[in-house]
Amino acid sequence: MTIDAIRLSPDDNVVVTCRAVNQGATILVDGVALTAAETVPIGHKLAFTALDAGAGVIKYGMPIGSMTHAAQPGDWVHMHNMKSDYMPAHLRDATGDMAGEAA
């Protein structure tokens, strides 16, 4: 049995990929079909429900940050559209430059 993604808690509004999921692929999670809006690597998050800007992101049944931009089910949820409610994260881009705070 291959698992594509899992929803860790019944309260979660994101799912976590168990393998890389290609753009356009439709995966079934808790009986809901999600079509990946873009290719997402293993361990990343896809929106399980529609998420408004400002909405809390719930994973493990716990708040893990807030949306900075809206997302549709199947959209990749990461630092381009969500942020920490505690402290900013820092990044390093592909050139090795520190990209500073996430959006």
């Binding site: 293993i42 716990m62 505690y86």
Partner: protein, 407 residues
């Protein structure tokens, strides 16, 4: 069965190292030459780089050099540094361990000090071998630490909760388990406090995490590295929620500080963040600084979960690698003891991997080298820290007051 090394102070170890300890960077080269020439995985290099004295570093060195996995010690001093080598040597001797001190300025320079320290290693090894007794050791006598490094989106689903299952089994068996890094518990303090054995422990947990948040905020960075984001983690609290799963589900019996031994069996949170405003920089600059603190609290071995793929081990106490990510395991399996990514592939359950971890702990405690040991990893980091400053909230109980069964 685990055959432990019984020490004069009554504690039992699972390894029998002779430590060569440089007490300032100026003595590092001599110490390294001595350890390299010994070419024996049981002769290990640790040290402290700074010339200025530091109470935390002295307390750490006292705890590390009298760790039950250590049979004897050779101290290497340049001669003029601030480290209190006499007090450290007295503490080691009082624990019943052989100790020799070589002072490079007194020995007559590099060549003479290397030669003297090589003789000292032989003397200490012989005396340690003559003193040690092998005795049966139960799982309940083990102290096990856990840490995560190179976390990604799989860590919190596979390796961390699997270690949590193993911790539940070990705590139920009467062992002592330590989880750490209050900076990686930011956002989890409320849930942790509910698991506290007493209201004082709950208060200490919440205070320690709030202090971690204030400290990291002042430093400008949380405990969140670029690789965490590449691996799918989007926020500090998301990383925290995954890291917290390592602690399992049992009652949290107390909050301890670096170099402080838990007062009895059970589950403990190691608070690694100094009180007050930042003084010497990040609480721990890298994973091995935290592993050294777990060892200084008495950990016989450490369970290290990794998603991105860390390769480190440690001096003094074995590190067992639990790999969270099946893609990482496929690339770096030679460095990994446990393949927890099988949970994602649907071919193993959390319970299966938790049981594998407990079995691996038992084998490594019984003498089987962990992967990092077999590969020769003996990393060690100890830097400046001030754990004695005034806490931001002086009303919060510290030390014995926040431990169960004390006072």
């Amino acid at each position: 069965m685990i055959e432990g090394y019984l020490r004069a102070d009554g504690r039992k170890g699972i390894r029998d190292a002779v430590l060569v300890v440089y007490l300032v960077e100026c003595a590092h080269h001599v110490a390294r030459r001595v350890v390299d020439a010994a070419n024996d995985p049981g002769v290990q290099l640790v040290g402290f780089p700074g010339c200025y004295p530091n109470a935390y570093a002295l307390a750490m060195m006292k705890a590390l050099t009298t760790h039950p996995n250590v049979g004897g010690v050779v101290l290497l001093s340049l001669g003029c540094e601030g480290f209190n080598r006499e007090e450290l040597a007295r503490t080691i001797a009082a624990s019943g361990r052989p100790v020799e001190t070589v002072v490079i300025q007194q020995a007559g320079g590099t060549r003479a000090a290397i030669s003297a320290a090589q003789d000292a290693v032989e003397t200490v090894r012989a005396r340690a071998d003559a003193a040690v007794q092998r005795v049966p050791m139960a799982l309940s006598e083990l102290v096990v630490g856990t840490i995560c490094g190179g976390s990604d989106g799989t860590s919190g689903i596979t390796a961390n909760p699997a270690v949590g299952r193993a911790f539940d089994t070990l705590v139920d068996a009467g062992a002592t388990c330590i989880f750490e890094e209050t900076g990686e518990m930011i956002g989890c303090e409320g849930h942790m406090a509910i698991r506290a054995a007493t209201p004082a422990v709950a208060q200490a947990i919440e205070a320690s995490v709030h202090q971690a948040e204030a400290y990291y905020r002042a430093m400008g960075y949380g405990s969140f590295a670029p690789g965490n984001a590449e691996g799918g983690l989007s926020s500090q609290e998301e990383k925290s929620a995954g890291a917290y799963a390592k602690s399992g589900t049992r009652v949290i019996d107390g909050v301890i500080r670096p170099a402080e031994a838990p007062p009895g069996p059970g589950l403990y949170l190691l608070d690694v963040v100094p009180p007050g405003p930042p003084r010497f920089g990040f609480p721990n600059i890298v994973d091995n600084a935290e592993i050294a603190e777990l060892i200084a609290c008495g950990a016989h071995l450490t369970l290290f979960t990794t998603g991105r793929g860390s390769v480190v081990g440690s001096a003094i106490a074995p590190v067992i690698k639990v790999c969270a990510n099946p893609e990482t395991y496929a690339r770096m399996g030679d460095d990994m003891d446990i393949d927890a990514g099988r949970i994602l592939m649907g071919v193993a359950t959390l319970a299966d991997v938790g049981a594998e971890i407990v079995a691996c702990v038992t084998r490594v405690a019984a003498g089987e080298p962990s992967r990092s040991e077999a590969l020769g990893h003996q990393e060690f980091v100890l830097t400046y820290k001030d754990m004695a400053g005034e806490p931001a909230d002086a009303a919060v109980p510290r030390g014995p007051a926040c431990l169960v069964g004390s006072g």
